[in-house]
């Protein structure tokens, strides 16, 4: 096993204790993390879940009888490692609020309407080049209780598996130019400006479908510098 996932890469992540995001105060470790070598357990990971990806799971606009309300968009991109290699056959899961900024989750009490034609969950598998594509609705911003007049910038949650359990990533994709960026403690928990920019999708005119949907590109980079190329099956 020659794979290495340097800890240095993790500096892009937010600090676990980021007091501006109040819920981190009681849910972050108070003792130092224990440094350990990566063993076979950490360097392997689940390479399945794809069999659960049904034909239209990447299209969140066709899961119900009618079309959801809101602005139809295409969200696509590549999942790559730190050396720029596309990561094939990985599972990408996505969930989001509807166009009004309301989640279908039972605990979401935001007084904005639910959309009977929108669940807000999707999944896809990357192809041989690491490419994935979703069709969905642009989610709305929504208020939350972190502080007075707190609003989350519009975002789509992503869950991605790499080829090792230590490259597992859960993140949020944002939209370019959102006026709420300076005020959001979750977005700003990533303190490096360049790293923050990597969470913002780019408007993709070239792949926008005329008369149908705007397109945004969101490339996802997982840990894996110095990793040797995967053997393909």
């Amino acid at each position: 096993m020659t794979l290495v996932y340097p800890l240095d890469s993790l500096k892009a992540h937010p600090a676990r204790l980021s007091p501006g995001y109040k819920s981190t105060v009681k849910r972050s470790p108070s003792k130092p993390l224990i440094i350990m070598p990566q063993t076979l357990t950490e360097l392997t990971g689940p390479v399945y879940g794809h069999e659960k990806v049904r034909e239209n799971d990447h299209d969140l606009t066709t899961q119900h009888k009618g079309e959801p309300l809101g602005e139809r968009i295409i969200v696509h991109g590549h999942v790559r490692d730190e050396d720029g290699r596309g990561i094939p056959n990985v599972l990408v899961e996505l969930w989001q609020a509807n166009a009004c900024g309301r989640y279908i989750h039972v605990r979401d009490q935001h007084p904005a309407p639910l959309d009977p034609n929108f669940t807000g969950a999707g999944r896809a598998q990357t192809d041989s080049s690491g490419y994935y594509r979703f069709i969905t609705i642009k989610p709305g911003a929504y208020p939350w209780g972190n502080h007075h007049n707190a609003w989350r910038p519009a975002h789509i949650h992503f869950s991605v598996f790499g080829h090792a359990f230590v490259s597992r990533l859960v993140t949020q994709m944002y939209f370019p130019g959102d006026p709420l960026f300076p005020f959001d403690p979750i977005f700003n928990s990533v303190t490096d400006e360049k790293a923050r920019q990597r969470m913002i999708s780019s408007f993709d005119l070239e792949n926008t479908k005329p008369d149908w949907a705007l397109c945004y590109r969101f490339n996802i980079v997982l840990r894996g510098r110095n990793a040797t190329p995967m053997e393909t099956k």
Binding site: L33, T39, L40, V170, M199, N219
Partner: protein, 199 residues
């Protein structure tokens, strides 16, 4: 567009509302990619349940966390082509996912893992790798679950890196009576804080 990226995509919290997408468990109009039941018909080994609760720094249960586990089969092989020893024909995948309930509770039904190769060439004690996600957690925490009835835990190379007075937080305790059940509580912070690894 295909330029070598300058760094990884930063992690963000899973938030409070992931259940309908990741741990639907029949409660929403969405199917689950993964469940908390890892047992497959062909899996050999001892069927066990690992259960416990997740607590925050005040000792309050965490009802909105998601736990994922990754483990070897009973022979100590991982279901991943990177593990060249992997058993063909085994449908045991070794990955599970569970959202915590209202009291912070969770449970996995699985197979007790076998010993796997360690960094020093010696086998590691049987263990399960766990990732913990939650609202209020900006990055997942990794921990390991060892078993209190495995004597090799005492000489495990990774366990040896952990301060002696904190090792008990990594050891699941077999519950007396009934089926083979192991108890493993997770404390995100505080005096009994579970050991989390930088890995």
């Amino acid at each position: 567009m295909a330029d070598t990226p300058a760094g990884i995509t930063p992690s963000q919290t899973v938030g409070p509302f992931f259940a309908y997408g990741l741990t639907s468990n029949g409660k929403y109009a969405w199917n689950d990619a993964f469940t908390n039941d890892l047992v497959t018909p062909d899996a050999s080994g001892e069927r066990i349940r690992i259960e416990g609760r997740v607590f925050d720094g005040d000792g309050a249960p965490v009802p909105d966390s998601m736990l994922e586990i990754w483990q070897a089969d009973a022979q100590g092989h991982f279901s991943d082509p990177q593990d060249k020893r992997a058993l063909p024909n085994s449908s045991f995948k070794g990955f599970g996912r569970c959202g915590t309930g209202g009291d912070g509770e969770y449970a996995f039904d699985t197979i007790k893992p076998g010993a796997v190769p360690g960094p020093d060439g010696k086998p590691q004690a049987p263990h399960v790798l766990m990732a913990i996600f939650a609202r209020g957690m900006l990055v997942q925490n990794y921990t390991r679950i060892y078993f209190d009835d495995e004597s090799s835990t005492a000489t495990d190379a990774i366990m040896a890196l952990v301060p002696r007075d904190r090792r008990a937080t990594l050891i699941a305790k077999r519950v007396q009576g009934g089926g083979p059940v192991y108890r493993f509580d997770i404390h995100l912070q505080g005096d009994n804080e579970t050991v989390f690894f930088a890995v």
